[in-house]
């Protein structure tokens, strides 16, 4: 992937500590703590760096490492349930850096992702690692105050990062705009900043998504839908998913959002044809999603949650590797239309169900038969002959809303016949 196609969140990561905006306090504390390692004895061997999504936790750590010549040994904490990972981590942590080698920082991302039940041993194992480490350990978390993280809080120096201010976000966006030679409306940038709620990552992504013909306008910003209060915005997760190079990245992508699997399914379902254009890829992706969906169905039916992993395999890697050939590209993932449609079909089905309920007993048949064999003809009558429809409605004492649904555009006529007094 050339520099040109790099997602901007990667391209414009701060390369020096001075580029990190609006986090003075966190910066000072972190630098002081790191210095205490260099002079010998740190008070605490680990730091728990926390703050809202996209406030720049990982970026800060990376910037500090670059500035002070550290190498980052990174591990996603939610992987640490695997025994061999923990062992590898413990080994790395316990070794002092080689004389000529670079100094190491161990970065444990997203420790609040540790599942309190599934990873029973996870927190304890990390506690052991911290006690025995000879290298600085930095943990990040959105929410460090979850009950099961207490042992980590006790051991680590807890450093808070701020939610970014709108003006800070706008400044960063402006810098990117001029670096990219993009014409940006000031109010467009403010809109992005406002929507980002201090989440710089999503703001930068919004900016990149909103570029049309080298310009960013208020209109183009509003067209890019955004979801907040997520670990990753849905479309961000989709981008991660579709451009995954490895299976683990694809799997991460579908689990690293706050969307539940149902919602994630809906987003993927909507955007398979947004991303893929070759019919074979489209089908392979849908086939994988369809298989995932079957696993979800079985999980619901049997409550066998062991199957979840297979479902996620198909939904993530299955969809990502439906590709015949990797193509880096940038597309806008909009809010699934289906969310609107679902509520409409739901209503439509509720009406049909209610009608079936109404007629089934009178017609001595099942609701299913009413739906299949009677409702289609009732619709024909109601949309073509309002007077006759009114007579049927009167006989069966149909409520107004069901009449309205059956008659569609001619509902008013049917209802007015119905209101005329019976001779």
């Amino acid at each position: 992937m050339s520099m040109r196609n790099l997602p901007w969140i990667i391209k414009y990561r701060p390369k020096h500590i001075d580029e990190v905006v609006n986090q003075e306090e966190a910066k000072q504390k972190l630098i002081a703590w790191l210095k205490s390692w260099e002079t010998g004895k740190p008070q605490k061997k680990a730091v728990l760096l926390h703050g809202p999504a996209g406030c720049g936790k990982t970026s800060l750590v990376e910037a500090i490492a670059k500035t002070y010549g550290y190498e980052i040994f990174e591990m996603n904490a939610s992987d640490s349930r695997r025994k061999e990972d923990i062992e590898r981590l413990a080994k790395t942590a316990s070794q002092t850096s080689a004389l000529r080698g670079k100094k190491k920082i161990i970065l444990l991302d997203e420790v609040d992702g540790l599942d309190p039940r599934a990873d029973m041993g996870g927190v304890e194992a990390l506690v052991e690692v911290i006690k025995n480490t000879r290298n600085p350990i930095i943990m990040t978390a959105n929410n460090p105050y979850r009950e099961h993280l207490k042992p980590l809080r006790d051991l680590a120096e807890v450093i808070a990062m701020n939610r970014l201010k709108e003006t800070d976000v706008v400044k960063v966006l402006q810098k990117i705009c001029s670096a990219e030679k993009i014409e940006c409306e000031q109010e467009a940038l403010r809109e992005i900043a406002k929507r980002s709620e201090g989440d710089l990552r999503s703001a930068i992504n919004d900016l990149q998504a909103a570029v049309i013909d080298g310009r960013v306008t208020l209109q183009s910003v509003k067209a890019v839908s955004t979801y907040r209060d997520r670990v990753y915005a849905p479309w961000e997760a989709l981008r991660k998913l579709f451009s995954a190079q490895y299976v683990f990245q694809a799997k991460d992508a579908v689990t690293s959002t706050d969307l539940d699997p149902e919602e994630m399914k809906t987003w993927i379902n909507e955007h398979i044809p947004t991303w893929y254009d070759n019919p074979e890829e489209v089908w392979r992706a849908y086939e994988a999603l369809s298989r995932a969906d079957v696993y979800f169905g079985r999980i619901v039916k049997t409550q066998n949650w062991d199957l979840l992993s297979y479902a996620l395999d198909m939904m993530g890697p299955g969809v990502a590797f439906a590709r015949k050939q990797y193509k880096g590209k940038f597309v806008a993932f909009k809010m699934p239309e289906r969310i609107r449609i679902l509520s409409e079909t739901k209503k439509s089905r509720e009406y049909r169900e209610a009608l079936a309920e109404y007629f089934a007993s009178r017609l001595l048949t099942s609701k299913a038969t009413v739906k299949a064999e009677f409702i289609p003809y009732l619709r024909v009558i109601f949309t073509n002959n309002p007077k006759y429809a009114a007579a049927i409605a009167r006989e069966y004492k149909l409520p107004e809303e069901l009449i309205t649904w059956l008659a569609g555009p001619r509902a008013k006529e049917v209802l007015s016949y119905l209101k005329k007094p019976v001779k």
């Binding site: 019919p279 849908y286 619709r379 009167r394 006989e395």
Partner: protein, 322 residues
């Protein structure tokens, strides 16, 4: 003015009024005379009078208020055997009054029950056989487990013949003071495939549109059974996946179709001669449609499954250069 649906209005109330299934009706009349019936299984295609005959039988046995002696259950609506068990238990517990020494449990569309549920049903039939009789109806007797079949007198209902349907429609036309062309009634018969319920529904809708002519009949059937399914298939085969998906969504909203409804109609469509595609392609599509239907039954999501199907069509359409 109020108006009944003709399917209700012209439903035979007594066994004497039933015009077809003559042999079956004769035997049932004997049961009525003897004041005793066995457990029974009425099997046959839709719209051939299974439920109607069961009600007529009960009417003849118990008189006008027969419905208080009959528990009507529908296996399609009450899929949980627990619900059926509870209702049957309660119903069987109450004393039988009157000269007939038993009550009737009518379990419609019993072939929609899983075989496990049918096993449970079999035990129910044994448990309460002292004061209840079961009448089961089914489209496909082969989907009823053997132990139940062997406990029942099996009656096979056959699709109605033209000689039965057309005169009945004529009778309705006279009674309703309608102008009906004979040819139009024949077309109704052909389109309804021996299903009396459907024939009557078509007739009533056509009458609501005006004079019952061939043209109107075709129009009604076209309106009631949407062509959009075929258009959706054609769009997908032409490689226009996004438009096909849009059509699918429209269909599900406008007609409130479920995923199963759609895939079943698709299955019918792909073998229709109006859809001009190679024969071997029909077979390949049918195969995948079956797989998708299976997945839907497994509890999967309607739209995702059908999207997979449409995507497959788009791919096949390209391979076969449709």
């Amino acid at each position: 003015m109020s108006e009944l649906l003709w399917a209700e209005k012209y439903r035979p109330k007594t066994l004497d009024e039933v015009i077809n299934q003559k042999e079956i009706v004769e035997r049932l009349k004997k049961f009525v005379a003897e004041r005793n019936i066995p457990h029974m299984l009425f099997a046959g295609p839709p719209g051939t009078g299974k439920t109607t005959v069961a009600h007529a039988l009960a009417h003849d046995l118990y008189g006008e208020n027969y419905r208080q002696y009959m528990l009507e259950l529908n296996a399609s609506d009450e899929r949980k055997i627990e619900v059926i068990r509870t209702k049957v238990k309660e119903f069987a517990r109450s004393k039988v009054v009157g000269e007939v020494g038993f009550k009737i449990v009518l379990l419609d569309e019993a072939d929609n029950m899983t075989s496990d549920a049918q096993q449970a049903l079999r035990r129910l039939m044994e448990l309460y056989s002292a004061n209840t009789r079961f009448i089961l109806t089914a489209n496909y007797p082969s989907k009823i487990i053997e132990p139940i079949q062997s406990r029942c007198a099996v009656f096979r209902f056959t699709a109605l013949k033209k000689e039965d349907v057309v005169p009945r429609l004529q009778y309705i036309c006279q009674n309703e003071n309608l102008k009906c062309r004979e040819r139009a009634l024949e077309v109704i018969y052909e389109l309804s495939e021996g299903d009396m319920r459907r024939a009557i529904n078509i007739l009533q809708s056509a009458a609501a549109l005006g004079e019952v002519t061939e043209e109107v009949v075709y129009k009604v059937v076209g309106l009631a059974h949407p062509r959009e399914i075929r258009e959706m298939i054609q769009l997908a085969l032409a490689g226009n996946f996004l438009e096909a998906r849009k059509k699918l969504r429209d269909l599900m909203i406008t007609y409130g179709l479920s995923g199963l409804d759609v895939i079943k109609q698709v299955h019918r469509e792909i073998f229709s001669s109006d859809l001009k595609i190679p024969e071997d392609l029909r077979v390949m599509i049918a195969d995948y449609a079956g797989e998708i239907q299976f997945r839907l039954v497994e509890g999967a999501d309607d739209e995702i499954q059908l999207n997979a199907f449409l995507a497959r069509l788009a791919l096949l359409g390209r391979k076969f250069k449709v």
